[in-house]
Symmetry: C2
Subunit: 309 residues, 2 copies
DNA sequence: ACCCATTATGCCGGAAAAGCATCGCTGCGC
DNA sequence: GCGCAGCGATGCTTTTCCGGCATAATGGGT
């Protein structure tokens, strides 16, 4: 190198050597501990002192003592070395997926059986990863994953139009059911023929907020060419439960809603069975999933395994 | 070196280079900025990545991009480099006496004219030095300086017995005076002959707490072979002022007390003048004074110069 | 398919660090 | 009082490795 700037000679080696000497208060012993020869150590510490322009040690034939400046610099050097170790370890942790932030999108209702236990095991295995959950609508989830603001989404299979650039890994499939009040005639049946819905009125979620649900509904009804009158539109699960249990109508729901409605409604499978609602992991086709994200997927999969047992 | 430990290859150079590349997002430009050739930079960053065992950058023919780990490590590296600079600068500051702690012992009354202005100018010139003032008796001051718990003391010249191992640098000398109430006959004189004290009673400070004062007093009186009756012993300046102004007696005091007693007492020089009370700097004969201490001494000297004008 | 910018690789020279031997200093013990 | 032991510094040689130059490889853009 032609030109060497003033302060560009200091290296971590100098700090490591200085700390060793300052701790041993003896060049020879420090050299042994560092597995280097004493003269090398001697010179490196001299270089360090020249670099800083301050005497850090007072030498004597009996060993060395720290000057006031040396004491200060010892603290500083120790701190710097500790921080470098921490920096490296942090980075490795991040690479191993044991550290950092993980942005996960999800649809609350369809994932109610899968997500909570997966979150629990994940946080237990890597507590230093902060999971940020984002409760969004289906198309927003898809957009988020595509843009990269979400690393993964746990949700129903995206519609064709929403699915471009995304990969869907199915975790579980819920049969489509009809939800009725416990005193409704359907409640006594083991399954309900699709054709029998013709005389019923539908309770549905609001189209605006539940586009995915309406897509599902449409596909179910389309398959039998039916068009049912809509009794009410609900803004959420609890009002839907109220509407149905008071006899205002029935609803078409995936079986997972059993976990939500409890005993207040009865869910009966439809025959012939429409295509089941698939719940799974959505990730971007291109764009890496971090190790932490992979771990999370593993937790989801094992959460599903527990479920089916 | 025969054995090279796992993590002992990382140096500040690697961090400096990595930061440059991560900021430029381009090896070639970073190399130019660092005034090194691009291949050198390329290799050093590779070495760093090998060392950590994590990919920090994704290379492409259009430049480089940071991985998530790379972003984290960039922050860490920047911080480490900043801290090293700070560590060096702190150490240099300490060596220049612009930083650190300074323990100063003093006797309050005799230094009342000198110390406060010196402290003021000192703190203005080096605000990052924390001055710790220790108000102690004369022998404790001497002990403290000898032991090194005090770097300096500002006080009257130590007695012979107390002065061993110490160096005294005189700053100012105050003539010995007699202090009387304003209506006392002495108050009208320009000076008072020592012999005329014979008919007076003495107001003194307590022997226990003011050994130095009593030594001074003894030497003044011994020089004229007088022994005066003691009217009262006082625990401090304010009670001494009260005693004298109410006519209970007179006191022998150095002229500096004029600043303390104000108009409440009159101080008149004695003739023939006894040896003046010398105020100065006490330091250990061996044992360094830090640069900050030297600066403080300079402030004291200039404070005295201001005084005599 | 070619081109260009950009990074990676091979090789060499030199600077700097490490090792070895030795010197100089100082305090301790015989 | 003198030698000896322990310590750090210094001179010199060896080794390492960093940097420079030339060039290959890579891959997106036109």
């Amino acid at each position: 190198m032609l030109f060497r700037h003033n302060g560009f000679g200091m290296e971590l080696r100098h700090l490591r050597y200085y700390v060793a000497v300052a701790e041993a208060l003896n060049f020879t012993k420090a050299a042994a501990r560092l597995r280097v020869a004493q003269p090398a150590l001697s010179r490196q510490v001299q270089d360090l002192e020249d670099e800083i322009g301050v005497d850090l040690l007072t030498r004597s034939p009996r060993g060395v003592a720290l000057t006031a400046e040396g004491k200060l610099f010892l603290e500083e050097a120790r701190d710097i070395l500790k921080r470098t170790d921490e920096a490296v370890e942090k980075t490795r942790s991040l690479a191993r997926g044991e550290f950092g932030e993980l942005h996960i999108g999800y649809s609350p209702s369809p994932t109610v059986e899968i997500l909570p236990p997966a979150l629990g095991t994940f946080q237990k295995s890597v507590p230093r990863v902060t999971v940020r959950l984002h409760n969004l609508a289906g198309n927003e989830l898809a957009d988020g994953v595509r843009k990269g603001t979400l690393e993964l989404a746990v949700m129903q299979r995206p519609l064709e139009a929403n699915g471009i650039g995304l990969q869907f890994e199915p975790l579980h499939a819920y049969p489509i059911c009809v939800a009725v009040a416990p005193d409704h005639p359907f409640a006594k049946m083991k399954s309900v023929a699709l054709a029998r819905l013709a005389t019923e009125k539908l309770v549905v979620f609001r189209r605006r907020e539940y586009a995915d649900y309406h897509a599902l509904l449409a596909s179910v009804l389309r398959s039998v060419n039916q068009r049912l009158p809509i009794a009410t539109e609900c803004d959420g699960a609890s009002s839907l439960i109220t509407e149905i249990s008071t006899g205002r109508g029935i609803a078409i729901l995936p079986l997972v809603f059993e976990k939500i409605v409890g005993a207040r409604l009865k869910l009966r499978p439809l025959t012939p069975a429409p295509p089941a609602q698939e719940i799974g992991i959505v990730r971007a086709l291109k764009g890496d999933v971090t190790p932490a994200g992979e771990k999370f997927c593993a937790c989801l999969r094992s959460s599903v395994k527990q479920l089916t047992r």
